[in-house]
């Protein structure tokens, strides 16, 4: 009772301090840093730009400021010598407890105010894809939880040292570690969580879970450290050790500290979010697993039940083998390291199995000994919280399983057979997935999914067939648009939240224009089958990919921000065209990663093709004004740029500044200079028709499997030109 009363009084006192006001006001305003200076979430989705970055920056700034406030407040009583009056009435331990709780409440108030202030701002900036759930989760997780961590760490340092100056040095070092050395370790960067993207159109629960896990681990660890420092609070004129010895007499106190610390170590070591994949990404030990002798896989089925609330999955799979060897064989599967395997039976009998500790490319190896029987049906149950690849731990979020979105790839979907060849039917598989009613299942590839059962619990079971050991499925709250051009059907799937943006960008018309133009000039996509292609908008990925019958579009390419990028087109519809042209110049004929300052990339041909489509749609004057003239102006400015004319000064700048300038210059080279060069090449080779022929040849060229990328030299050779010929100066 007394503690509650004290807590109330201390809170009132704290809130009367001008310094507290200053810290609260600065913390509430601090998300603005994420809009201007500090942008750790690099993706171009609206939620990354206008929620993740402000919230993370706000968390970083407010965490530091609340740490400083904690030091100021804890030192205040000693500094103003009120401590002697206070400790004559209550024990220093009781008072420290009250103070830490008070600071936590001040942090909570600050978070509440920040959320109120930034709600309308975020809503205004984000527009139609604003998600209230994302907002109310992002701010407490990214920003709110940073403040108690700052408070606890600073308070612990002060309680150990009892010196404000030394505490500030220790706290600054602890914060600096998170921002520098620990920045790429998702579990250690307590102040600046590794969040590279938030999805606009789909859910973000996976990345929220990851950050919550990291922050709670730190919260428990720092609570433990704080409790130990609390036991070291100087009492009865004793020093650190003397006070500690007195405080630990009540055994529950050190016990609580030890439990907290132990729990945090267990939580750190046993994190469920990422696996232990071999950091050497050239290692391919799983590819070297020897194939079984005289065993073939004749087919398999799987029933998969995602738990969209828990983000977990459970599944049952049955593999059929023909074992002609007459002896036991060890069959190997790749399985997501987060899954537990159970009930492994061959022909109804339990068989031994082993899951390897070694992990590679987000898979652990499940080895099962199958009996010598000629026909073997191997069944197993598996499930759990899927882990992501440790080598991509700073880009978590792709294995989302929620009511809004789901992406299950290969071993995360079902155990992937590694070392048994198929029979002539090539692994025929029937997969059933039970999903909430609102979700649409989209198998990546040629397969089509059908609803085979509807259940009373609001779910329905989808079934599709495929012929492979792996596979990818997407599911979500998708809108499906069908576009037919010259007998070629495009199934365009995009998130329902993006409806307004897609409509205003004229997505369907853009698809028609692009398919019309590109099919006529370059041919069908190598990864589409003859009649059909699925275009699937994915949750933000940092790129796209394509396979037979399907191509993935990263949602980041269709954000309102990107669609208003004038360098890609004068209107959002034209940017949509630009992004779709990447299906031809960017995926099937994938370009290699371009070198810094290189002008050759997928963008040059994509911008040029966009210009050609727009020219067809809106006429030459329009295309000249909004494309060629724009490129020319940007290139003219580029050649006048101080650092282009004086590269020695660029070299003298700090690395991060150099990178920033180089990135900007590279952008101009790829988006403006290269299209101009292609335009010049077009003139030199004899006009548009001749250039179309050349590009058609390049698009349909025979690929070198060792290096399937289209190079600048190949382009020049095809044009019969040299680099000097395309000199714009």
């Amino acid at each position: 009772m007394k503690t509650i009363c004290l807590f109330h009084l201390e809170l009132c006192r704290l809130l009367k301090s001008r310094f507290t006001y200053l810290i609260i006001v600065l913390s509430v305003l601090s998300p603005v840093i994420g809009l201007i200076l500090y942008k750790p979430a690099a993706a171009s989705t609206m939620l990354s730009i206008y929620i993740a970055n402000p919230a993370i920056a706000g968390g970083m700034a407010s965490g530091i400021m609340f740490g400083m406030l904690a030091v100021f407040e804890l030192d205040r009583a000693a500094r103003s010598r009120v401590d002697i009056l206070i400790y004559a009435a209550v024990s220093p331990l009781c008072m420290a407890l009250v103070r830490i709780l008070t600071l936590m409440i001040a942090a909570l108030i600050t978070l509440g105010l920040a959320m109120l202030v930034w709600l309308p701002v975020s809503k205004l900036l984000i527009g139609s894809v604003f998600g209230f759930v994302d907002y109310v989760l992002a701010y407490p997780i990214f920003m709110g939880l940073a403040m108690p961590l700052g408070i606890l760490s600073a308070a612990a340092a002060y309680q150990f040292t009892q010196r404000a100056d030394l505490t500030m040095v220790l706290f600054a070092a602890f914060a600096a570690l998170s921002l520098t050395l620990w920045a790429d370790n998702w579990q250690l960067c307590w102040l600046n969580p590794c969040v590279w993207a938030l999805s606009d159109d789909f859910s973000n629960f996976r990345i929220f879970r990851s950050v919550v896990y990291m922050r709670l681990t730190w919260l428990v660890a720092l609570s433990g450290v704080w409790t130990i420092s609390w036991l070291c609070l100087r009492q009865y004129g004793k020093g650190l050790l003397g006070s500690l010895l007195l405080s630990v007499r009540r055994i529950y106190r050190p016990t609580v500290a030890l439990i907290l610390l132990t729990f945090s170590v267990i939580a750190y070591a046993g994190q469920p979010m990422v696996d232990n994949s071999n950091p050497d990404e050239t290692a391919m030990l799983f590819n070297e697993v020897p194939y079984t002798e005289d065993v073939v896989c004749t087919g398999y089925t799987a029933q998969i039940f995602p738990d969209v609330n828990a983000g977990t999955l459970s599944g049952y799979t049955a593999y059929q083998f023909q074992n002609g060897s007459g002896q036991e064989q060890r069959v190997a599967f790749g399985i997501n390291p987060g899954y537990a395997v159970s009930n492994v039976k061959a022909n109804g009998l339990d068989v031994p199995f082993l899951v390897s500790d070694y992990q590679e490319y987000n898979e652990a190896m499940l080895e099962i000994t199958i009996p010598a029987d000629k026909q073997v049906e191997l069944t197993m149950e598996y499930g759990g919280f899927p882990r992501e690849n440790a080598n991509m731990s700073t880009m978590q979020g792709s294995t989302e399983i929620s009511e809004e979105y789901m992406c299950l790839e290969n071993a995360t979907l079902s155990p992937r057979l590694m070392n048994v060849p198929p029979d002539e039917n090539m692994y025929p598989a029937a997969i059933e997935i039970t999903l909430p009613y609102s979700m649409t299942l989209i198998p990546f590839g040629n397969s089509d999914a059908q609803v085979v059962a509807e259940h009373e619990n609001g779910t329905k079971t989808w079934r599709y067939k495929r012929n492979s050991t792996g596979g990818i499925v997407y599911a979500g709250n998708y809108i499906r648009e069908e576009v037919v051009v010259d007998g070629f059907t495009i199934e365009f799937y995009y998130g329902s939240k993006h409806k307004a943006v897609m409509e205003s960008a004229g997505a369907v018309n853009a698809i028609k224009s692009v398919v019309d133009y590109c099919v006529e000039h370059y041919g069908y996509l190598s990864f589409g089958d003859e009649n059909k292609l699925k275009l699937i908008q994915s949750r933000v990925l940092g790129g796209g990919y394509a396979a037979g019958g399907a191509s993935l579009l990263d949602e980041a390419d269709f954000t309102a921000e990107n669609l208003s990028n004038a360098d890609k087109g004068s209107e959002s519809g034209e940017v949509m065209i630009h992004e779709l042209v990447h299906q031809w110049w960017g995926l099937g004929n994938m370009f290699d990663v371009s070198y810094p300052n290189s002008l050759w990339s997928a963008e040059g041909l994509t911008v040029y093709t966009t210009y050609r489509i727009v020219k067809e749609l809106y006429g030459e004057d329009y295309a000249q004004k909004y494309y060629v003239a724009q490129w020319q102006k940007a290139v003219d400015d580029y050649y006048l740029d101080f650092y282009v004319r004086n590269p020695e000064y660029l070299a003298a700048l700090p690395a991060d500044k150099q990178l920033e300038i180089t990135d900007n210059l590279t952008y101009v080279r790829q988006y403006c200079e290269m299209p101009l060069k292609i335009l010049k090449a077009e003139a030199l080779v004899g006009g548009e028709e001749a250039m179309d022929k050349i590009l058609n040849g390049l698009f349909n060229r025979e690929l070198d499997p060792m290096y399937p990328y289209l190079t600048y030299q190949e382009f020049l050779n095809a044009c019969g030109l040299t680099e000097e010929d395309l000199n714009l100066a």
Partner: protein, 286 residues
């Protein structure tokens, strides 16, 4: 309230021994003056009594219970004004007292806060921020916080420092009234304060208790050891401590204490200050 000190010793971590085998018994109602020169151990003794320090040896009993067990009870019945203290400048007088009342666990403290403010003559400053107060007013806030909740045991360490004579008299009377039914321990250098209000005196020096008793008993110890003489008659003698020196028309009139008064010194009635100085000087000689 009864406080007993048994064989109490205190040595600081730097090895300095401040109190040695102190034995005292303090019982309410009483107003006890704690006297002693600087560094005698008075403040340390007080800090031990409020559990701000832990003795290296010996026991403190509160109502017969060891302090370690009775600490919470003691603190809830304690009013303490240390020699050097600070206040929260951003609070008003009333808010600060409200805060201290909460620390002391007082329920519905409004009345007691008003009483304390009234007792220290700070009614006009009730809503003033502490940062605007003068040194004397801050001292009064310190006294007021000690009085909150009418604690059974009050410890004042140099409470009248910084107060003008009129205020000093006011507070002397206040302490006297307060001690009617409680135990008040008053540490001061101002002998006059002690003489006018204390019913008990404890004199400590070099960490030892030199005297415990009433002021009259202390004065009695100096009878025959205090005298006056003209400075011109002075012969430097060991053990003679001059306590005052007054310039008169006939020359400089001196007052001194000594174990054995020289023949040129005429014995006089001792004051409490004479007795105190005699006690301290005698200890120094020993």
């Amino acid at each position: 309230m009864q406080i007993e000190l048994k064989e109490l010793s205190m040595t600081y971590p730097d090895g300095k021994q401040v109190l040695r085998h102190l034995n005292l018994s303090l019982k309410s109602p009483s107003l006890i003056g704690l006297l002693g020169p600087n560094g005698a151990g008075k403040s340390t003794l007080m800090k031990l009594m409020v559990a701000a320090l832990m003795p290296t040896d010996g026991l403190i009993l509160v109502n017969g219970q060891p302090l370690a067990k009775a600490e919470r009870m003691l603190k809830s019945n304690l009013g303490y004004l240390p020699q050097n203290f600070g206040l929260f400048d951003e609070l008003t007088v009333a808010q600060f007292l409200d805060y201290m009342a909460a620390l002391k666990g007082l329920r519905s403290p409004k009345m007691t806060i008003q009483e304390a403010i009234k007792a220290v003559n700070l009614v006009e400053k009730t809503k003033s921020k502490i940062r605007t107060l003068s040194g004397g007013q801050r001292q009064r806030v310190g006294i007021a916080q000690a009085l909150l909740g009418n604690p059974d045991f009050l410890i004042f360490d140099e409470p009248t420092v910084g107060l003008d004579p009129e205020e000093r008299i006011h507070f002397r009377n206040l302490f006297s009234r307060t001690a009617q039914d409680r135990l008040v321990l008053l540490s001061t250098h101002i002998i006059e304060d002690v003489q006018s209000i204390c019913d008990q005196i404890i004199v400590v020096n070099h960490g030892r208790v030199l005297f415990t008793g009433t002021p009259e008993e202390l004065i009695q110890t100096a009878v025959g050891h205090v005298g006056a003489f003209w400075e011109k008659d002075l012969i430097i003698e060991k053990g003679l401590h001059i306590t005052s020196r007054v310039n008169t028309r006939h020359g400089v009139r001196c007052r001194a204490v000594a174990d054995k008064l020289p023949s040129y010194v005429k014995a006089e009635e001792p004051s409490l200050e004479d007795a105190y100085i005699y006690l301290i000087s005698r200890e120094a000689v020993q």
